[in-house]
Amino acid sequence: MFLYFLKRLLLFVPTLLGITIITFLLMQALPGDPVQTLAGERADPGTIERIRAELGTDRPLPVQYIGYLKLLLQGELGRSYYTNRRVTDELAQKFPNTVKLALAAVLFASVGGVALGILAAVRRDTLWDRLASFLSVGGISLPVFWLGLTLMLIFALHLRWLPPSGMGNGHPAYLILPAVTLGTFSLAYISRVTRSSMIETLSQPYIAAARAKGLSGRVVVLKHALKNALVPVVTLIGLDLGSYLNGAVLTETIFGWDGLGRYALDGIMKRDYPVIMGVVLFGAALFVIMNLLVDLTYHLLDPRMRVQSGS
């Protein structure tokens, strides 16, 4: 068990370093001076001096990379060209908003996806099953930005049930449309996996035994089968968290949600390189760390995984 954790952590370090190598190379390839890219245009002379000293643009690339890592360890992602605020501060300010949106979306996707999957599995090969499978194909095929705009058109602009955009000082009504938009893709995947996992579980002997005992179909499905059928689903929900970062760029842009995604896009539109590099690096690091945590959690939770990992 301990060995497995150690192995995972050892593999995690090169991945994280690899991400910084890629962002470093991207930064080198940007037009203009890398020092400027890292510091921001209106950075104070002290910061610029410090970054110039660490990077030393006349030195060979590997040495510059080490300097770049040192700067990252000090939390130095530079300053925005436009606001002149530290990118780390801005990230810290926007990140909670994205987390809030992502959590609401995960909730929507898990509840909706599991319910749809159970319905499809229990009513297998009926009209319900067909409908669920059509919805799940649709859910993974609709462009996120178009889905968001269409929902906004129907529920905010025509029916006027929900606010069209903005964050409304935390009023929950403002969260509904963005969360549904962001969660639909995941909901579709979760419903597929729930369906196939549920069908497999329902064919197990212990389910037949429960039915033979005379338990009602509802109890068998919801109490006996669901618990086991959910194992792959929970894995999927965990591993899918990173994909919310992709969806967040589009969803936040459409709904004017003040999170990381919109921040990234603003950076692109204004060619604000420190911002772009900051979000890309932060997003990728977050994704890797979350995958690691999800993986380690399952090993703690599921005894069967522990046997497989051989310790």
Binding site: L11, P14, T15, G18, I19, I21, I22, T23, L26, A29, L30, R130, V137, G138, I140, S141, L142, P143, V144, F145, W146, L149, T150, M152, L153, L157, R192, V193, G242, S243, L245, N246, V249, L250, T253, A264, L265, I268, M269, R271, Y273, I276, M277, V279, V280, G283, A284, F287, V288, N291
Partner: protein, 282 residues
């Protein structure tokens, strides 16, 4: 659901038949787009008619006009070229790159495998749209940058898949026999291992085409894809977004085009996967 017998004697569900038909029509539309807009629709996708801004769907303009008075149907027909071209060519490019690295890692094993697998992990670690955004900051946006971005975020997935397949194929007797007969490494890999992995690889690539078209449309929507005035489905939506309340068709129709294309790709991909191997990983 009615089923139709296919050439190989298997039954294809109606949904797969419809999906294949839709894709065939789309491919023809994309290839013949200039002919179709000139002779069938009789509208120029670039001609601005300032007297007919934001016209609703009607007799002159079947799907209406956009905010610059251009015929929406003609633009959607032209937009199919970019979406399908980028979707399919990114699939082929990332498949080729993935196969080269995946075969190398799986066949040679050891340190080569260890290093290459780490590199696959790193590329798989980037949330795809974020990496594409980073790349777009470096390369001026356009057809090339969109294809490069999609290829860079997807080749590692194929590489990991074929690495696994190579690992199990190289243990099989016919590979051992080929090696024992003195076949060169290249011959063993390309004549014996690759052909056996090919069907699964093609299905895996087919399953991803829909997703690639979605990424292309997202990049276009964000202004990071092929630039205006060339019509792409994603950029049409973003350019007309401001008028969504007054002229919703300008946003609805290009989105329907994307959705229909990707749904058709995904249904067909699912069907091919089920035909080949019901236990194929998702």
């Amino acid at each position: 659901m009615p089923e139709y017998r296919t050439a190989s004697g298997h039954f294809a569900p109606l949904s797969a038949v419809i999906a294949a038909a839709i894709l065939a029509v789309l491919l023809i539309t994309a290839l013949a787009a200039p002919l179709i807009t000139r002779h069938v629709i009789k509208q120029d996708p670039y001609a601005m008619d300032l007297d007919a801004l934001r016209q609703p769907p009607g007799k002159d303009h079947l799907l209406g006009t956009d905010s610059k008075g251009r015929d929406l149907l003609a633009r959607i027909v032209h937009g199919s070229r970019i979406s399908l071209f980028v979707g399919f060519s990114a699939a082929i490019l990332s498949l080729v790159i993935g196969v080269l690295f995946g075969l190398t890692a799986g066949y040679f094993g050891g340190m080569v495998d260890l290093v290459l697998s780490r590199i696959f992990d790193i590329f798989l670690a980037f949330p795809s749209l974020l990496l594409a955004i980073g790349i777009s900051a470096v390369i001026p946006p356009g057809l090339g940058s969109a294809m490069l971005a999609i290829t860079l975020v997807s080749w590692a997935g194929f590489a990991r898949l074929i690495r696994g397949m190579t690992l199990s194929l190289k243990e099989l007797t016919f590979v051992e026999a080929s090696q024992a007969l003195g076949a060169s490494t290249g011959r063993t890999i390309f004549r014996h291992i690759l052909p056996n992995a090919a069907p699964l690889l093609l299905v895996a690539a087919g399953l991803r085409v829909g997703g690639f078209i979605l990424i292309e449309s997202s990049l276009s929507f964000l202004g990071l894809g092929v630039q205006p005035p060339t019509p792409t489905w994603g950029s049409m939506i973003s350019l007309n977004r401001a008028y969504i309340n007054a002229a919703p068709w300008m946003v609805i129709f290009p989105g329907l085009a994307i959705s229909m294309t990707v749904i058709a790709c995904n249904i067909l991909g699912d069907h091919l996967r089920d035909r080949l191997d019901p236990r194929f990983p998702d």
